[in-house]
């Protein structure tokens, strides 16, 4: 499956005068497991929100392979192959496991319409608006076709649906959720919910997968199996993985390269060993907590 590189250049994000991120340069090569660490409020989740299009960065650029993605809407970013999980699990809680995953398959099941290059907004509202108007007829036709296909359940729709269901089941099985397909998400045990969220993210066939504290709230044993899972995903699918993590054991165990943020700035990067030796990192952490004290994240 896909594997993409992710690059940021001078990325900055400000909220009404508050600087949440400043001047972040990041380069994640294809297939790497990349850790982002830092004390609470360092801007890690903000970084994820910028990458996935939830926030529009105030300065800087974002690149996915050779496509610039800052300024794109979240669904467009997702369509290009960036997927994510959330710090506090955000499943579609009244939908069943398989339905959650099928939502992830949304684009695949309907033909990937945003694949390839996506027009970035130029910042000129008039031109962007006209550009959107120009694509409107095609979009309307596609929507109509989609509605008609669903209502009349055409053979192609049936086939796509059956295929999506089959693949969703496979994916759930891969993540150890076989047999839980029809359990409503909110009724799953905590660890399963985490895994389901990853399954849902993987269903979008991402080239880059962003995991926001995947082991938060887990006991050491569960964390260990999560580490194994993350590594397996990368090894088997080749997916580039960026993860935010508080548990140093996890970070050191799985991340091949680490970026350290503090107060919205990058203060260090390197391999686990390099970062651990960095005085600025130790300072940043000692200010708030001990390096090895990890703990259970900030729930």
């Amino acid at each position: 499956m896909a594997s993409s590189t992710l690059r940021t250049a001078g990325l900055g994000m400000q909220f009404q005068g508050l600087t949440a991120l400043a001047d972040i340069d990041l380069a994640v090569p294809a297939g790497q497991i990349h850790g982002v660490i830092g004390p609470n409020g360092a801007g890690k989740t903000t970084l994820f929100n910028c990458v996935t299009g939830f926030y529009r960065p105030t300065t800087g650029e974002l690149w996915l392979d050779d496509q610039r993605i800052d300024g794109l809407a979240p669904h467009q970013v997702s369509g290009l192959g960036v997927s994510r999980t959330f710090q506090n699990i955000r499943l579609f809680s009244t939908m069943t496991s398989i339905e959650n995953v099928l939502v992830g398959y949304h684009l695949q099941a309907g033909g990937r319409t945003t694949a390839g290059r996506v027009r970035r907004p130029t910042g000129n509202r008039l031109r962007d608006g006209l550009g959107e108007l120009a694509t409107a007829p095609r979009s309307v036709a596609a929507s109509l076709a989609e509605i008609a296909g669903s209502v009349f359940r055409t053979p192609s729709v049936r086939r796509a649906e059956a295929e999506a269901v089959a693949r969703a089941r496979e994916l759930l099985a891969t993540l150890g959720l076989a047999g839980r397909e029809n359990v409503v998400a909110r009724n799953l045990p905590y660890g399963d919910q985490r895994r389901l969220e990853i399954a849902r993210a993987l269903a979008t066939s991402p080239g880059v997968l962003l995991l926001d504290e995947p082991t938060a709230g887990m006991n050491p044993q569960e964390s260990l199996s999560m580490v194994g899972l993350i590594r397996r995903v990368r090894d088997e699918l080749g997916t580039t993985i960026v993860l935010i993590e508080h548990q140093m054991r996890v970070v050191m165990g799985v991340c091949e390269y680490i970026t350290v943020l503090d107060y919205g700035r990058k203060i260090a990067e390197g391999t686990a060993a390099e970062v651990q030796r960095d005085t600025r990192v130790i300072e940043a952490y000692l200010g708030t907590r001990a390096v090895s004290g990890g703990g259970h994240g900030a729930a």
Partner: protein
């Protein structure tokens, strides 16, 4: 959470264009062409009603003759509808037809297009032989066909919209529909004449409610007033029912500097309108003219001093039977019939039905036979002096001969002005 929005902003331009187009279309809005033909009932019309031949209804001995009343018995227009229904009923007090009692069947038409035919169907199901109502033009329009289909003649005491008796169908007016009130156009013409000739005023400002009645009346008034050499100043301003804030309209009136302000609407809105008009020093003394919807005792009690000096037109005269109606109404409902809008008309509508019944009902071996065709013919031939003057119908079901009386509020009372 997301910072987006260009999509909606470009849309703005689009919305603006659509909105402007809509405003433009409305601003160039033409007048209604409610002219309507004056064609009378046709044979084809009798055929659709099944009244081209005898259509006999039999009443068992001991049973009552049922007459329907379709009126607004709940909701916003209840204040108008219930007294109308009461007024119709008192006409039958003590009346028996060949020994058969009269039973009134009331149904609520809510004064809406949906309620009209539903009430008509319920009345027909209850086996009525004729009906008074519906009371509103919209409800009447929607129920014309329902009554017609069953050959049930109905007389509206209050539906004044011009085109009810000139539908576009090839068969011409519905032969089963008659009405007692003076039409809006006749009332408006009399008002225009009164302003021009009696008050000798030239410039009028028009305010109307946006409902059927108000719009129709206001449009007729403008036509008549201009035809009589008057001038309409400013743009006619409309308001929706239950409006209470007339300040913006009064500002426009002040700017237009009319001699008289003409209001086509109902007392519920006319009361706050007058109060706000009189509260403004610039319009304190402006001449006010209202129509039948405004002339109501509620106006006097509600507006008090603000109503002083207001001129009001009331279509329909007071016939010799008014005293009888008034005493019966007072006895049964403890109210003053003078204050009931369209009360006399309702009384007369019911009387017309009763008189016709008396003529066509035939007793046969203890049962009573009523031919709906003959009943319809007798109603058409009505000619008697009722509570609202002489009741006669034109060839299309409208009332013949329009009398409009004028009143002025003096000392908290309506004082009738002598006819010229």
């Amino acid at each position: 959470m997301r910072v987006r929005g260009h999509r909606s902003r470009i849309y703005l331009a689009f919305v603006a264009i659509v909105a402007m187009a809509a405003v433009f279309a409305a601003a160039c809005g033409g007048d209604d062409d409610d002219g309507g033909s004056t064609a009378g009932f046709s044979d084809a019309g009798y055929k659709t009603a099944g009244l081209d031949k005898a259509r006999v209804v039999t009443i068992d001995s001991g049973a009552a003759i049922k007459i329907g009343i379709s009126s607004a018995l709940s909701g916003d227009v209840k204040g108008l509808g219930v007294p109308i229904a009461d007024s119709a009923e008192v006409a039958g007090d003590g009346v028996t037809i060949k020994g058969f009692k009269i039973e009134w069947v009331r149904e609520d038409d809510l004064c809406t297009p949906e309620g009209g035919p539903a009430a008509a169907d319920r009345l027909i199901k209850a086996k009525i032989v004729a009906a008074v109502g519906p009371i509103c033009s919209g409800g009447t329009r929607a129920s014309l066909a329902a009554f017609d289909k069953e050959g049930i003649t109905h007389i509206s005491p209050s539906a004044t919209s011009g085109d009810l008796t000139s539908p576009t169908r090839a068969e011409g007016p519905y032969v089963t529909f008659f009405r007692v009130p003076v039409l809006n156009a006749d009332e408006a013409a009399a008002q225009a004449k009164f302003i021009r000739e009696t008050l000798k005023l030239k410039k009028a400002f028009v305010v109307n409610d946006t409902d059927d009645y108000g719009k129709d009346l206001a449009a007729s008034f403008q036509t008549s007033f201009k035809a009589q050499g008057g001038e309409i100043v400013g743009t006619p301003e409309g308001y929706e029912k239950k409006t209470t804030d007339f300040k913006a309209i009064i500002t426009k009136i002040k700017a237009a500097k009319p001699d008289v302000v003409y209001l086509a609407g109902f007392y519920a809105e006319a009361t706050p309108f007058l109060q706000q008009l009189r509260a403004d020093p610039d319009t304190k003394a402006l001449v006010f003219m209202g129509g039948d919807g405004v002339k109501n005792d509620e106006l006097l009690t509600g507006a008090k001093d603000a109503a002083e000096g207001a001129y009001l037109a009331l279509p329909g005269g007071q016939g010799s039977q008014f005293a009888a109606y008034k005493s019966k109404y007072a006895a049964k409902y403890k109210g003053d019939a003078e204050t009931v809008t369209f009360g006399a008309e309702a009384y007369d509508a019911a009387t017309a039905i009763l008189k016709a019944l008396e003529k066509v009902a035939v007793e046969k071996s203890g049962k009573l036979e009523i031919d709906l065709k003959k009943l319809n013919e007798e109603i058409k031939k009505s000619n008697f002096e009722g509570a609202s003057g002489v009741i006669k119908f034109e060839s299309n079901g409208n009332r013949a001969g329009a009398i409009v009386r004028f009143f002025q509020v003096k000392g908290g009372k309506y004082v009738e002005l002598p006819a010229k």
